[in-house]
């Protein structure tokens, strides 16, 4: 036993590259924020559904990956492909918006079907939580391998380049490019809109009411089933938007199981911020993006980003299981 430990520990398998870390500190911060805003968008889906149903929608990562495929096909149909095309600015923006809408529809529909086919029958039967979770895993698996069978294997789709990032401006002697800026701003705008939707509109009030007390909300005339559907759809639509940004950042990101790791990270982000809390999802997403990017720079291998994300998740759950901002959309269970 002792032997085993020394053998594994002596080997120089982990090295801290502090030089690279301080050199690239701002670069990895900004890039982390870009990834983080994508995580945050996906995290919203987890947080919303959790807030309303206290369910970890395990299949949300597949809602996301369906959006990625929809983006790829929409963009390919409009002439985008592995080598960059340079349409005029206005056309580019319209094309990207069309692709985003396509992804939103695809993801939103997937989320809706998922709710209808997989979760609703269980809710009718008042099934225990474990059953919901296992169903979610099954559904996630089903969608993944439907894609697998449909695309004839595990190969990722060829890259789809939307545009080549140009430098826009420089902070702390680090260049911020147009891609980072687009993703970050668009994601923040979407999340602010969602936040306002939930806090200001009648539908949003319904969501909050069901999150706080489903029974009372029903008695007060809130249509619980419709609220649940709406919640799934909003989560799906945001995941669709995230899909476009993700593909922008990772052009060959469409693979059948590509949603899995991103989904876990987004979930970690939601927990980090306080699951059930919309603003928490944003904060958690950005934080997780930055931290796991630091991990990559420091450890010098991109495989570490997943390990770092998981470790962050475990540490957060141990130290502060309600997350940074606590559970405000839902209620804390005793």
């Amino acid at each position: 036993m002792h032997h085993l430990i020394t053998y594994l520990a002596d080997a120089p398998w982990i090295t801290f590259n502090t030089g690279a870390f301080s050199d690239q500190f701002w670069a990895s911060t900004f890039d982390g924020l870009t990834y983080g805003s994508i995580y945050a968008l996906v995290a919203m889906g987890y947080t919303l559904v959790y807030g309303v149903l206290q369910l970890i929608n395990f299949a949300h990562s597949e809602v996301f990956i369906v959006g990625v495929y929809a983006t790829v096909f929409a963009l390919n149909a409009m002439g985008f492909g592995p080598s960059p095309v340079y349409p005029p600015m206005v056309v580019l923006i319209i094309d990207l918006l069309v692709a985003m809408v396509a992804a939103m529809i695809a993801s939103g529909l997937t989320a809706l079907i998922l709710e209808r086919v997989a979760y609703r029958p269980l809710r009718k039967r008042n099934a225990p939580r474990l059953v919901f979770l296992i169903t979610a895993i099954g559904a996630s698996f089903t969608i993944q391998y439907l894609i697998f069978v449909w695309r004839g294997g595990s190969n990722a789709e060829p890259a789809t380049i939307m545009f080549v990032p140009d430098p826009v401006f420089e902070v702390f002697s680090t260049i911020i490019d147009s891609q980072q800026l687009t993703i970050f701003i668009a994601a923040i705008v979407l999340m602010v809109v969602t936040d306002q939707f939930i806090n200001r509109t009648k539908f949003g009030r319904g969501i909050r009411a069901v999150a706080q007390d489903p029974d009372t909300a029903t008695l007060m005339g809130v249509n619980k089933e419709r609220v649940i559907m709406l919640t799934f759809v909003i989560g799906g639509v945001l995941a669709g938007a995230a899909a476009l940004f993700y593909l922008m950042k990772v052009p060959q990101g469409a693979s059948f199981n590509g949603g899995f790791v991103l989904g876990i990270k987004a979930f970690a982000a939601a927990v980090l911020g306080g699951i059930g809390n919309i603003r928490g999802a944003l904060l958690g997403g950005l934080l997780l993006g930055v931290v796991s990017n630091y991990g990559v720079t420091l450890l010098g291998n991109s495989s570490w980003t997943d390990v770092v994300a998981f470790v962050v998740l475990v540490v957060v759950l141990m130290v502060r299981p309600t997350g940074l901002l606590g559970e405000s959309l839902g209620k804390a269970r005793v």
Partner: protein
């Protein structure tokens, strides 16, 4: 679809239908469930009298090679049977965690991997560690994985159930990533010539060669029997009762004096140890370990085995493990759809039959059978549904 695929599909549907029918027959609460009642009315001695020949038949399956069960040419039947037995053992271990204690562990493959690597590190010539005989790696793997189980469980078992699922999923992935990232674990290259138990055949070749599935199968069945006995002992003790109490209502259990955290940790550690044991058996038979076989889909397959067979039912999960491993070997034309099939199966099962093929069935008192007879003159009401359809007692009042 090709005609092969259609034939396989039809055969598989028939197989599953037969299993479901048998499961129904076993259910005591159903009017048709005479078989279960008959079985329950037998004394322990009589049950053993039936069990011993049954076990003998099971042990000899690879030798008998029964016609419907046999695999098509090109697939080695004894090795198929070994894999089935291996999955059954895994399901038995995972059932302690999921079925009995009600903790959803999605990183079970992590423990399986740790067990496999323990066997590889201590027996393969590719490892620089000093070597020990293969059979010693089985208990060693159990100890090491138990240690991992405690390390992982201590911070996480205080969390709510659904967080636990995600954290264990993360653990499974971390184990896989570490196998890739840590040079001593040799990533994709892996370890060749993992050891095997001693013994030679008449022709001088090793008895436990990796091409020879039969002895591996029999070894695994032997281990399953021992594990069944021990897990059964636990089930019919305060430990098993504590697990079921935790599963049913954690808060109430704690207020009835059950040290909830301690017993959750035990469930987790015992489950982990059985996972590690299976992992080292796997490594021995395949004789090669690298980072490729311990991914999340495998974890989900393990879970599917438990849920399919009947979470909380020891016999059920053995059957579940068997079926999950058997289908891709037997219906080779469908092998590439196996994950899809099991994904759909999970959803469909949860919606229409959450209790699995056989429902949960637990005796929680040592010598409870005699006690019930002595006290009220009839046996107890056994669970006919599963931990997964359990509702809180208050709801039904």
């Amino acid at each position: 679809m090709t005609s092969d695929e259609i034939i396989d599909l039809v055969e598989m549907v028939v197989l599953v239908a037969v299993l479901v029918a048998v499961g129904k027959l076993f259910q005591r609460s159903k009017a048709s469930g005479r078989l279960g009642e008959w079985w329950n009315s037998k004394s322990r001695v009589e049950q053993w009298a039936w069990l011993v020949p049954l076990i003998a038949v099971v042990v000899l399956i690879p030798v008998i090679n029964p016609p419907f069960l046999t695999t098509e040419p090109g697939t080695n039947f004894p090795i198929t049977m070994f894999n089935c037995a291996l999955y059954a053992l895994v399901a038995l271990g995972l059932n302690v965690v999921v079925g009995q204690a009600g903790l959803l562990d999605l990183g079970y493959v992590g423990f399986f991997a740790v067990g496999a690597y323990v066997a590889a590190l201590f027996t393969s010539p590719d490892s620089q560690l000093s070597k020990i005989p293969y059979l010693w790696t089985l208990p060693l793997a159990m100890v090491v994985t138990m240690f991992f189980g405690v390390v992982l469980g201590t911070p996480t078992l205080r969390l709510r159930g659904d967080y636990l699922a995600i954290v264990t999923l993360g653990f499974g992935e971390i184990v896989r990533l570490l196998a890739t990232l840590m040079p001593p674990l040799k990533g994709n290259v892996g370890f060749q010539d993992v050891g095997h138990p001693p013994g030679t055949k008449a022709d001088g070749g090793a008895l436990f060669a990796n091409t020879n599935g039969t002895p591996w199968y029999m070894l695994t069945i032997g281990i399953i029997l021992i594990v069944l006995l021990l897990v059964g002992n636990l089930e019919r003790s305060r430990v098993g009762r504590a697990w079921v109490a935790i599963r049913e209502d954690e808060d109430a259990a704690e207020m009835m004096g059950v040290p909830v955290f301690k017993f959750k940790l035990w469930a987790f550690a015992i489950g982990a140890a059985i996972g590690g044991l299976s992992g080292s058996l796997f490594a021995g038979q395949v004789s090669f370990v690298n980072n490729q076989k311990f991914d999340v889909p495998t974890s989900v397959l393990f879970l599917a085995a438990v849920v399919l067979g009947g979470s909380g039912n020891k016999v059920g999960v053995l059957l579940g493990g068997f079926v999950i491993a058997y289908i891709p070997f037997r219906f080779t034309a469908l092998a590439s759809y196996k994950y899809l099939i099991f994904g759909v199966a999970l959803v469909v099962l949860m919606i229409f039959r959450p209790q699995g093929l056989l429902g949960a069935r637990q005796r929680l008192l040592a010598r409870g059978r005699q006690a019930y007879q002595r006290l009220i003159g009839r046996p107890e009401q056994l669970s006919s549904d599963s931990s997964l359809v359990a509702e809180k007692a208050g709801d039904s009042a």
